[in-house]
Symmetry: C2
Subunit: 363 residues, 2 copies
């Protein structure tokens, strides 16, 4: 069902009594035409209800004024939020967003990315640094500028705007260690095809190891990102390993599930058990006990990715990597290890954890 025969640019030109070229310029480069002419053209545009034909424009000018975003899923509020911010940034600049999601399937990711590039996006926003070799090859070959988000490209090869999952995880682990916890479990999203989740688990493990505490596989559960799954996972963990005094969750959704499971089984938080999240979604501050978590500036990531891409398209130079600030939000869901559990020479934990200052971005 093609569009109805609507006014084209030469209709506008004729109606304004100018040539096609002048009409074109009056619309896309108004500075180049005489004010009187410009106004005549604008009047003709309004009169005819002229709407430029994007495909023709893109074909002739070799730019589509369209950017693509490929996210795992919008069902995770952090990606919804960054995507929302990205779209707003682009709209303000006269750009449009082509959106695709892949639900953590690398093949789907390649397919939808191809589709976006076929549509002629001028640039691309991707999530994470974990992509199939085919995708990497395709991106390199198709020569479309892109930004990786939610990550700082470990190799430093690509443009990216994100934060150090490594540092954030280490700091959270440190926090619990400082509270005296030694029996710690990790509740993670699926780590396959998700470098962020993988990094978080690995770094928690590393931090614990730094204090001589192992994190056996049995204490790491991977599950889908949902409250119910988080709840179920903690239940399993606790049944198998009642000595646990704390759990570090890969995101706040899982942490909320953990909190609910504690409530259901009468485990007082934080008196008996500590729960830590990641992301700082709105609910984290509102639930009771309020959730200790890491605040990620989700909207800022989307916004900056858009701004950076726009800047690059305009020929400006931007720093290859941009770090956004994250902040440990110490709230009520974590506390000193329960007295009975503080064996193994745990040093005395501070009773009032001090709110840690935000980690500032590098630039």
């Amino acid at each position: 069902m093609p569009r109805k025969a609507s006014a084209r640019l030469d209709d506008v030109a004729r109606s304004a009594g100018v040539s096609l070229s002048t009409a074109s310029r009056a619309i896309s480069e108004p500075g180049l035409v005489h004010p009187d002419t410009r106004e005549r053209v604008q009047r003709a545009v309004a009169m005819l209800g002229y709407v430029p034909h994007g495909a023709a424009r893109a074909l002739a000018s070799r730019r589509s004024r369209t950017l693509g975003a490929v996210v795992p899923t919008l069902d995770n509020p952090i990606f919804a939020s960054s995507t929302q911010a990205l779209q707003r940034t682009l709209a303000a600049a006269g750009y449009t967003l082509l959106l695709a999601s892949h639900e953590y399937d690398p093949e789907a990711e390649l397919a939808v990315t191809r589709a976006l590039v076929e549509r002629g996006v001028d640039g691309l926003v991707l999530v994470g640094s974990d992509h199939s070799p085919e995708l990497a090859r395709f991106l390199a070959q198709s020569n479309v500028p892109f930004e990786l988000t939610w990550t700082l490209d470990p190799a430093g090869h690509h443009h990216c705007v994100g934060f150090s999952n490594r540092l954030a995880s280490i700091r959270m682990a440190q926090h619990l260690l400082d509270l005296g916890h030694r029996e710690i479990a990790v509740l993670s999203g699926y780590t396959a095809n998700n470098d962020r989740a993988r990094e978080r688990v690995a770094r928690v493990r590393e931090a614990l190891a730094g204090r001589g505490i192992p994190l056996p596989e049995a204490r790491v559960v991977e599950t889908a990102f949902s409250v119910a799954r988080g709840r179920a996972a903690l239940r399993g963990l606790l049944e198998q390993d009642p000595k646990l005094t704390a759990v570090i969750c890969g995101n706040d959704i899982l942490a909320l599930g953990a909190l609910l499971e504690c409530a259901a089984r009468g485990l007082a938080v934080p008196a008996d058990f500590s729960v830590a999240g990641f992301d700082d979604i709105e609910l984290a501050a509102e639930v009771s006990p309020a959730l200790t978590t890491v605040r990620i500036p989700t909207a800022r990531i989307g916004q900056r990715a858009g701004e950076r891409l726009l800047a690059r398209l305009a020929g400006k130079r931007v720093a290859k990597a941009e770090e956004v600030p994250v902040e440990l939000m110490l709230r009520a869901s974590t506390g000193p290890v329960p007295a009975g559990a503080a064996r193994r020479g745990a040093k005395r934990a501070p009773v009032n954890p001090v709110r840690t200052a935000a980690r500032k971005p590098r630039r």
Copy 2:
């Protein structure tokens, strides 16, 4: 930064030893060429890493294989979910999604919709039936097929896939009335430019009026969709009007806030106070007490909107209006009116509210 000089279709044609037309057909209408030829072309495509040029294709064929969606915001999980489902549906059909949001600003809505139409979308998915006259005019003139979602077009003029906010609201109000509540407040999102929110408030008012119970303006609070706002709004309501025994919320986010406020002030739910939500987000079933709400099949709305548009583009006929099923989810956050409050001749409320059967779609 235009794409690098990459292979074009005539390169493919030459490499395969066929004409441009044949190469084109081999790619977009494989049934029309001899199997041997087809394979030669495919090999050439693979060898050259050929990626079709969408704009050229769109220009020549007058269809972009792109659909647009205009949503209020992705920060509301219901729109994130339906958009996610829409994008998945389109991707499976070889279509791509252009996404825009307007944050409940009618001017922004017109602007972003224009932008999508300029980009040559073959069809459009909009939310609600509440649009500016300019938008209506623009849509009519630009002749792009569209679907309204989350609503059943009251006038019946437009294609739509949604549900009756009217019936859902009436049933929820009825439920609380049946439990004996007479002092009921409404916590709504902003109703300006939001027909769904407006309808919900209006129908609750209507249902109460049916039992001779007024719903004064003072008992209706409009606020932004956030947990904190929901909490604050209920606080205000309760302080101003301590006789209240129940609140009906415009969505689950607000209801969660209401629940938290009750917990904070030691109001037992549902013994002292009842809270009802709308949408049935995941958390609704998980919190304690579990939230009584209306289940909306968010993903299905997005999916069906996509499927219907695709069908229409393929020349098939679809019913003008499609209703998706909604279901009253009676859970633990609503209960009989507290004994002390049951004045004014309330008839005895059922102690065990029976789970009501789902309302079935019409077709």
